[in-house]
Amino acid sequence: MSKYIVRRLLQMIPVIFGATFIIFAMVFALPGDPLAGKCGERPCPAAFAAKFRADHNLDDPLLLRYVKYLGKLLHGDFGTTFQGLNVADELSRRYIITVKLAVVAILFELIIGILAGVLAGIRKSGFWDNLVLLSTLIVIAIPTFVLGSVAQTVFGLKLKLFPVTVSPSPSWYELLLPGFVLGSLSLAYVARLTRTNLVENLRADYVRTAVAKGLTRQRTIGLHALRNSLIPVVTFIGADFGGLLGGAIITEGIFNIRGVGNFLFTSIHTRDGVAVVGTVTVLVIVFLLMNLLVDLLYGVLDPRISHD
C-alpha cells in the first residue's frame, strides 16, 4: 500500500510541472501590456516601469521565468499580484469561501442525488425511475449559467427567499442557492450513477441469497445492495470535489462570491500572470491529491480491489 502511494506521488510530479508550465506559457503569451492603465490616463514613469518589469521578471525569456517562479514556489512563496497583494494570503482567504461553497454543493449531491437514485433504482422503469431519468436529463441539458441566473432571479429577486448576491464572508445560508446551482450537474450524475449501480446490484446473486434467506426488503436493499452500489458514487463525489473548486468560476461570477474562481477570472482579465499560475497550481495539486485519495478509498471500500 505505502509503495503504491509513493509511486502515485512520484507520478504526480511530472504532471504538476507539465500542467503548470502549459498554464504559465499560455498566461505569459497573453497579449497586452500589464503596465497599460496602471498609472491612470498617462503612461507610467520610466523608473516605475523598469522596477515593475524587474520585480516581475518581465524581461526574461519564458523558460527562465518559469524556473525562477518554480524556485520561489518551492519555498512556499506564491509571489505578489500586480496590485501588490500576497497571492498566498489571497488564496488562503478565498479558498475558505470556495471550499465552503463546494461542501454545500456536495451535501446537495449526497442527499438529493442518492435519494433520487435509490428511488429510481428500486423499481426499474417505474414512475419514479422515469421521473428521475427525465429530470436529470433536463438538468444536464441546461447550462449552469442559465440555471444560475434563473435561480437568482426567481428565488432571489421575485420570491426573496435567498439573498441575490453573497457578502464578502458568506454564511452557510447565503451559500445554499449558489451551492445548489454549482452542484446541480453533478447531482444529476450522482442520481444516475446510483440508479444504474443499484439496478445492476439488485440482480446480483448475493441479493437473491439475501431475499432467499428471508431478509426484509429494507434490509436487502439498505444493507446489501445499496452499500455496494454506493462505492462508485462515493469515488465520483470525491473526484468531483477537485473539479468543483475549479468549476466554480461561473457560479461565483453570477452570485458575486469572492472565492477562487472569481479571483482567477479577474486575474485573467487583468493579465495578472503570477496570480493565475499560483491559483491554477494549487487547483491542479488539489485535483490530483483528491484523485489519489479516491483511488485509495476505493481499495478500502471494496476489498476486492487491491493496490499491491
Partner: protein, 309 residues
C-alpha cells in the same frame, strides 16, 4: 407475476425458434433494440432538424436575423413574431434559427477533433505499450489535470477576438480550445478499449498470419474498439455545445455581431425581468440540442451493453 407463473417458468420449454434459428451479432441485436426505442427516434429527428437549421436556416424563416427594429424593442411573442423581439428589436425566432449554426458547428468539429486525437493517442499507447505508453499517458494526465472551463478561458484570452475577427476564425479557436482539453478522456477510454480487444485470440491469429502492425490496427483492432468512443463522443458533443455557450456567456467565445445561442442568452440575461422570452427561446433550443445528442448516445450505449438486457 402470479405464483403459478413463477413456478411454471422453469418447466416451460424455452421459446427457441428465434434465438437458435439465426444467431445474431451484438450489433445487429443492438440495432433491433434501437428500432423499438422511441428515445432513439426522438433524438435522431431532433438532430436532423438541428443539422438542417445549421446548414440552411432559410428553410425555417424568411426574416433577416440582423434587422433591428428598435421601435419594436422587447415586444412579447405574438402571431406575427412567434418568439417576440429582444431589446435590440431583433426577431428572436430568426436569431434562434440562425444561431444553431455556431453551436452545431462547434459541437461537431470539437467532437471530431477530440475523437481523432484521442483515438490515435489511445491506440498507439495501448498497441506499443512500454515507454511509448508511459510517455503518452503522462502527457494525457497533464492535460487531464487542467480544469476544462479554466483551460478554455485561458486559451480564449490568450488569443482574443476583435470585432473584426472572421466568424470561422472564432469558431475555429473555440473548437481548438475545447479539443485541446477534451482529448485526454477519449484517449484514456480508447486505450482501455484497445487493451481489451488486443488480448483476444483473433489478434494473435492475425499476427501469426503475418499481418503488419498497421493492418492489425486498421482491420482488427479499430473496428472492435471504436464503439465506446463513438458513444462518448456523441454525449460529449452535447457538452461541447454547452461549453461554447458558457464561453460566450463569459464574453470570450463568439461576440456580438455573430449570431449564436450563447451570445443571445448572455445578452438576454441583463433583461431577464423585462423580456424573459428573449432568454427562454435560445436556451430552450440550446438545451434541446444538448439533450438530443446525450439521449442518442445513451440509447446507443444501452443497446450495445449486454448487461442492460
Amino acid at each position: 407475476m402470479t405464483e403459478t407463473n413463477v413456478l411454471a417458468v422453469g418447466l416451460e420449454p424455452e421459446p427457441q425458434d428465434e434465438s437458435v434459428g439465426a444467431p445474431r451479432s451484438l450489433s445487429s441485436e443492438a440495432f433491433r433494440e434501437l428500432r423499438h426505442n422511441w428515445l432513439f427516434w426522438a433524438s435522431l429527428i431532433l438532430i436532423v432538424i438541428f443539422l438542417l437549421m445549421a446548414a440552411v436556416p432559410q428553410l425555417f424563416t424568411q426574416t433577416d436575423p440582423s434587422k433591428a427594429v428598435l421601435k419594436l424593442s422587447n415586444t412579447p411573442p405574438s402571431s406575427s413574431q412567434w418568439f417576440g423581439r429582444d431589446t435590440q428589436g431583433y426577431d428572436i425566432f430568426a436569431r434562434t434559427i440562425y444561431g444553431a449554426r455556431a453551436s452545431i458547428l462547434v459541437g461537431l468539429l470539437a467532437s471530431v477533433v477530440t475523437s481523432i486525437i484521442g483515438v490515435i493517442v489511445g491506440t498507439l499507447a495501448a498497441f506499443y505499450g512500454g515507454l511509448a505508453d508511459t510517455l503518452m499517458m503522462r502527457l494525457t494526465d497533464i492535460f487531464f489535470a487542467i480544469p476544462f472551463l479554466l483551460g478554455g478561458i485561458l486559451f480564449m484570452s490568450t488569443f482574443p477576438n476583435t470585432v473584426n475577427s472572421n466568424y470561422f476564425a472564432i469558431v475555429g479557436k473555440v473548437v481548438l480550445a475545447l479539443s485541446l482539453l477534451g482529448w485526454p478522456s477519449i484517449a484514456r477510454l480508447m486505450r482501455g478499449s484497445v487493451l481489451q480487444v488486443q488480448a483476444n485470440d483473433y489478434i494473435t491469429a492475425a499476427r501469426a498470419l503475418g499481418a503488419g502492425p498497421w493492418r492489425v490496427i486498421r482491420s482488427h483492432i479499430l473496428p472492435n474498439a471504436m464503439a465506446p468512443v463513438i458513444v462518448v463522443s456523441t454525449i460529449n458533443l452535447g457538452a461541447y455545445i454547452s461549453a461554447e455557450a458558457s464561453l460566450s456567456f463569459l464574453g470570450i467565445g463568439l461576440v456580438a455581431p455573430a449570431i449564436s445561442w450563447g451570445v443571445a442568452i448572455s445578452d438576454s440575461l441583463n433583461w431577464i425581468r423585462v423580456a424573459p422570452w428573449s432568454l427562454l427561446f435560445p436556451s430552450l433550443f440550446l438545451s434541446l440540442a444538448v439533450l438530443a445528442f446525450i439521449m442518442l448516445g445513451d440509447a446507443v450505449r444501452d443497446a450495445f451493453d449486454p448487461k442492460t438486457r
